[in-house]
Symmetry: C2
Subunit: 301 residues, 2 copies
């Protein structure tokens, strides 16, 4: 099944305790697309400026990403620069320049409107709604958000939640949205806001999947060294949605396996800056890492 993604495509400058990367490919839709492309065809909706490097277009094309929905508008591309402290829990934004993103009006090409699987990456919830309105009959809608939108457009975030099959949030977003500290309580509260499933990503502590009364506790891949966490959540989403698109199966077990595939892609993402490690990945890497998650949690013969 094809995946439609709407999100940011940008240029990042990132400093971590392990180094600095200037002017690299960034944005939620870029990270998502690269990761998901290992599982299923991806159609991207987004916007860049006329300054966007052709080599980054080539990167996405080389991964087979359909760019018919990527608008090129007069002006500069969305740029973000940030750094991370040693605990990697939080990016510190040094500068965000929305540029062409500020006036982005997502129009879906006709060839996109029958997409069966939709991923609403982290952008303005009103744009997420606009995109969703143009898709005829999606079988599965998965959505992400971020603290900025929770603080500034809380009601719009919840309007999108009503349309989601799966909400992907991180631990802090879950607490802010549910207004409670316990992640177990938060997941259960968010299930009542519309989504059939809620995934809470906890970084080094793994992820939780809530579906009805059932809970799945996914481990984190045990990396000692994180080179750059930027885009880890979007790569997680790429593996997660990718698995569901590849199998076309949305059963409780398949959802669990999707979380593990998300964890696999998220864990690869953090091993290098930008999308570099994901681009170097092979199907064998992904299979081996997936298998290693079984070894991490099994305590019976």
């Amino acid at each position: 099944m094809d995946i439609l993604v709407v999100g940011s495509v940008g240029i990042d400058t990132i400093t971590t305790p392990h180094g600095k990367a200037e002017g690299v490919l960034g944005g939620s839709a870029s990270h998502f697309s690269c990761a998901a492309s290992f599982f299923a065809p991806v159609k991207l909706v987004g916007v860049v400026g006329t300054d966007f490097p052709g080599e980054y277009i080539d990167v996405l094309k080389a991964r087979g990403v359909d760019l018919e929905g990527l608008q090129v508008c007069p002006g500069e591309t969305f740029r973000w620069s940030g750094d991370y402290t040693v605990d990697y829990n939080k990016a510190h934004t040094l500068e965000t320049r929305l540029n062409v993103f500020a006036t982005f009006n997502p129009i879906l090409p006709e060839s996109y409107r029958d997409a069966k699987i939709v991923f609403l990456a982290n952008i303005d919830p009103e744009l997420q709604t606009q995109v969703l309105a143009q898709v005829r009959s999606p079988s599965l809608v998965v959505g992400d958000t971020m603290n900025y939108w929770i603080e500034t457009k809380r009601e719009s975030v919840f309007d999108v939640f009503k349309r989601l099959d799966v909400a992907l949030v991180n631990d802090q977003e879950a607490r802010d949205l549910a207004e409670t500290y316990s992640l177990i309580d938060a997941g259960r509260i968010l299930l009542k806001k519309g989504p059939k499933q809620v995934v809470i990503k906890k970084g080094e502590h793994g992820a939780l999947l809530f579906q009805g009364d059932e809970l799945f506790f996914a481990p984190a891949y045990p990396y000692g060294t994180v080179t750059d966490p930027t885009g880890a959540g979007d790569s997680f989403a790429g593996g997660f949605v990718g698995h569901l698109a590849r199998t076309g199966e949305f059963s409780p077990l398949s959802l669990r396996q999707a979380v593990i595939h998300g964890s696999v892609m998220g864990s690869l993402n953090v091993e290098d800056f930008s999308v570099r490690r994901i681009l170097r990945a092979t199907d064998g890497d992904i299979r081996d890492r997936y298998k290693s998650f079984q070894d991490l949690v099994r305590f019976w013969r």
Copy 2:
């Protein structure tokens, strides 16, 4: 196999967002013994004052705990009072009165000296060493510590580490001992300090077991409500050491199962103040909860 435990026996006054308990049975050896007693016979080494309530002696006796090594000394029993903020991550100590504990000189009764399994609960590392010196040929030594000793007697803590088969620490202790932020790095560093296995307890995020190059990622039981976390770590230790004592098997798989039994007893402990929930537990409760940990992590048929 019998278990020998040395640790504190005390009287706690605890305030949490869910209520207050005054003058209840507390101390690392008390929590440990109650939990471990579901798995194997426990011999306790500790000290109380003449004010220690006979009913608490009866509680331990009813669990079959051997109290020949519990000294009753002139003076008052060790008392601790503390409260917890809503995130439950950290106890805030309001008052600690060591009382008879300040001059405790642990002398093992002859009947204790052939114990095969030793648990050094959280007390002064020099007392832990003193106890260990009196045990003739233990098959398995497991030890706990706490931040206070890491800050004040760091070298003594590491001296004990050299004698341990398994070190049980929580996330903050692991970071402080290993002087690194990543728990994965911390576990690997601590393995080099002597213990054959290291367990890092992460509260709501579960636990990590390091043995050689192998890592086990245990989930946390998904309680929304924590009534009182006091003693959760000691109850974890009780289930962990208890499983190993009951089976007499210290294989990698058995160690993983011990971590799950630890998680079971720790998760029961937090459901009520003091040792109340543990005392109400049945073998059926423990079996059911153990089984539920499989359902939490399994993502294959």
